[in-house]
Symmetry: C2
Subunit: 244 residues, 2 copies
């Protein structure tokens, strides 16, 4: 049982042609808190220089990669094998979007290693490789251009698992929300100020204040926002009385 | 009013250093059905050869790019300016994850151009550029490696808008679900077959059939699945009777 199911994810690249895509995948994995890379029957056409350059600060993932002669060998210890496919087909009808199965996959990853399998840059996974997958996913893409770069596919799949893991804590507004009494005070003080500076007459108040309330209702959310706008009303009244 | 709000999205890259990131961004945009690229004060350090190579089949987006001397000029016609930021800060508390504001941004994009703004590879957006943004987003990333490649950030942001647009129709299982009567028949025929081939005795049926029902309940979903497994029972009974 992994404390963090993401530690049980294995990104498996099959027959990869370019080290740059391996390096970019390492960086994408690190961005999403996934750290174990396996290469199955790699078919690399260029030197590791480009791969290391594109891994940037994720060269540790690149260096710790494991290599296997085949997909079968690379996923032998995995309790789920998730193939990624861009194609339609008779036995691919049950493919899901990564978002729709991310939670289920994390549940499985809490019990053992789960492989995310990505095919060759030029022809993806072969039928005999698809046949080894217990799950199939297809990333939603526009029908005008369905072919994703390999590392972009790795990124999006890892991103969905990371998002489902709940490990990301979104930034929170630190200022407390403005209570209604403060908002009422804001409307009242602005109405007084706008009359004081000659922006509107008493009989125009209802009309104009509806416009300002419209702006305030969307823009003034926190106590800090309200305090800022109350400060403007106070200073404008002071200026109108003292600079006259 | 755009028929497709994605047509009103403008990807704006500010001070970009490498043409490869521009090209990769074009491909990522095309994958997500977003087609309008703007470069604001580009600071490109290499030739367009790499950019064109990485755009692959999205060179039309690259060729149609618009260039502007500044962010201010690049977003002048936009009704919302969405800055992407990796950093925390006093005026960045209200940042949202792209997923949490994607629907709202599409609603705005139905009324006019919306800019998605991405900063420099090395230092992101400057404070004076952040100040021009009406919205701020931060992509959820692991705290161990928060710096995304530029085109990966473009991809993830466009992906969330594409996903929220509802333009992607997930693959659907074409076989209808198996009705309960067919599933009951499956259990009954398998029990008979398993006794016929000598796998289990009558008195063991309850015990073993619980195991098979466990497998069937998870694995047999459609009419086609059930028909396939019923065929096995029929053939095994035939073989036991005729090959004996």
């Amino acid at each position: 049982m992994a404390a963090n199911p993401l530690d049980n994810i294995r990104v498996v690249l099959v027959g990869t042609l370019y080290t740059g895509n391996v390096g970019s995948s390492c960086r994408a994995m690190a961005n999403m808190g996934i750290r174990h890379l396996r290469l199955a029957a790699p078919n690399l056409q260029n030197s590791w220089e480009e791969g290391e350059r594109l891994a940037v600060h994720a060269t540790d993932i690149l260096a710790a990669r494991e290599e296997f002669p085949s997909l079968e060998a690379a996923v032998a210890d995995c309790v789920a094998v998730v193939g990624t496919t861009a194609r339609e087909g008779l036995y691919r009808q049950h493919v899901k979007a990564p978002r729709d199965c991310a939670s289920d996959l994390l549940s499985v990853a809490a019990t053992g290693p789960v492989a995310l399998v990505f095919g060759r840059e030029d022809k993806g996974l072969l039928n005999e490789e698809i046949a080894q997958c217990t799950h199939l996913v297809r990333i939603p893409v526009d029908e005008g251009y369905t072919s994703l770069n390999l590392s972009q596919a790795v990124l999006l799949t890892c991103y969905e698992l990371f998002a489902a893991s709940g490990r990301y804590v979104p930034p929170r507004e630190k200022a407390p929300p403005a209570p209604q009494a403060q908002k009422a005070q804001l409307n009242k003080n602005w109405a007084a100020m706008l009359r004081e500076i000659g922006f509107m007459k008493e009989e125009q108040s209802d009309h104009f204040m509806q416009g300002f309330q419209r702006v305030f209702s969307r823009g003034v959310v926190t106590k800090d926002d309200a305090a800022l706008m109350l400060g403007v009303a106070r200073q404008a009244v002071w200026a109108a009385k003292n600079h006259a």
